[in-house]
Symmetry: C2
DNA sequence: CGCTGGATTGAGGCCGATCAACTTCAGTGG
DNA sequence: CCACTGAAGTTGATCGGCCTCAATCCAGCG
């Protein structure tokens, strides 16, 4: 499970860097670092399942992860997508177990943060305390656009949200949708067909260019207006 | 704004009790207690508005509060309801200001927790740290049932959720809906008419007894089945 | 090469929104 | 006390957006 090389591009902004030595070879790191283990996940590899004992928070270093729960009718309800630099697992703190499943969408690299060690480490680290509260607070505001009334609004808002979270160089850059139409639909509470239809409609209106998983914004501001319901 | 009497029924379970002396008359309390101020809100009194500077977390001692944001089209989108013992304001930690409005639904009593004092107080209080993380984590799992597909499912799940959060003595007890049909609709992403119709339908099926704001469960388990989509 | 899962496109149906009329209730002032 | 008022709630008729079901297309891959 260990990787020999350690990625750095995310670490600079990571709230746990205060507890995680930057120097891979430092002897100090081995004893004090919060992050003892990295994991590489192949596409569609399970990170955790519902009712699994909560032990770790995870930081996505590279790749993408979806969390979801399976409804009584077998329908898959997506709770969230997590990309490079984002943290998952907070929902499990209160219950003591993960309330749903987490699966990688593509090859993904993650750091494991043992929660019990983190709690011990937290004492006296007022800055880290603040940063963690800040970070969880952010997650309370995720996906507000799920409440948007029309399907066009929700999908436009989703695309804009994605584009910011995938660290694009600019808003006109082409990027890859790591998830399927079905995943998007399960997240936005729409069907895959509806997602497909709206993509086609957006393309006809020259708002985006889309070809399977490759997507590119042509009129970012128009999309924003749609997202806002104007 | 101060009240002379101090309520106790909530305090025993309050995560901030560690930082909040139980004894109203103790001289210690005045200097060390986190909670310096209580506030009584009349019905429909504003607690905070969007963009207001974030200074306090609030604990509801008695009554009910709704948080909401107003969409571009003027539609009021309800983010959450908060009842006795529940905490609101966490969403503001990351932004530094409250991202939406909070208004009381009926006469309501709240405690103000100054966030900056709380942060200072947190140091070395590992139990309090844990409790707060636990408490925010819970809020990440609120309102999952908003994703339920049908209107009947969402409303049934909402009623069940309400009944647990209002501290009813038993599941057959009659209780008061503190919010309007419109509020419920704005929370569940349905119209007030739809809420009214479903209430009528549930009543015809003898699942509930409802008369304006007074409601009573007649077949709790049937409601649970509806909520689960069975 | 054919297989398989994902994506696209079309036809038809249903659930919840919209619009509108009416009732009930709480609050106010004569 | 009752009349008046406006907000909240109920109920009905109609409409439209999204779902369902189905056929076809396409890319990736053994």
């Amino acid at each position: 499970m260990h990787t020999t090389t350690r990625p750095h591009f995310i670490c600079n902004d990571c709230i746990f860097s205060l507890a995680c030595s930057e120097d891979e070879n430092s002897p100090i790191r081995k004893s004090t670092s919060l992050v003892k283990q990295y994991r590489v996940l192949k596409p569609r590899e399970v990170l955790y399942l519902p009712k699994n004992k909560f032990q770790y928070l995870y930081v996505v270093q590279k790749g993408a992860i979806k969390t979801y729960q399976t409804e009584a009718d077998g329908h898959e309800l997506i709770r969230g997508f997590y990309f490079a630099g984002e943290i998952l697992g907070y929902e499990a703190i209160s219950a003591g177990f993960y309330p749903f499943s987490a699966v990688s969408l593509c090859e993904t690299l993650i750091c494991e943060i043992p929660y019990s060690s983190l709690l011990k480490f937290l004492q006296n680290k007022i800055l880290l305390q603040e940063n963690i509260l800040h970070s969880i607070s952010q997650q309370l505001n995720i996906g507000v656009y799920l409440a948007s009334s029309t399907a066009d609004q929700r999908l436009a808002a989703f695309l804009i949200d994605l584009s910011t979270r995938l660290h694009l160089l600019n808003t006109e850059a082409e990027f890859i949708l790591p998830m399927t139409r079905q995943d998007i639909g399960n997240y936005l509470r729409l069907t895959a067909e509806t997602i497909s239809r709206i993509f086609s409609r957006f393309q006809k209106r020259k708002l985006i260019k889309i070809n399977h998983k490759k997507i590119k914004f042509l009129q970012f501001t128009s999309l924003q207006k749609i997202a806002e319901g104007l």
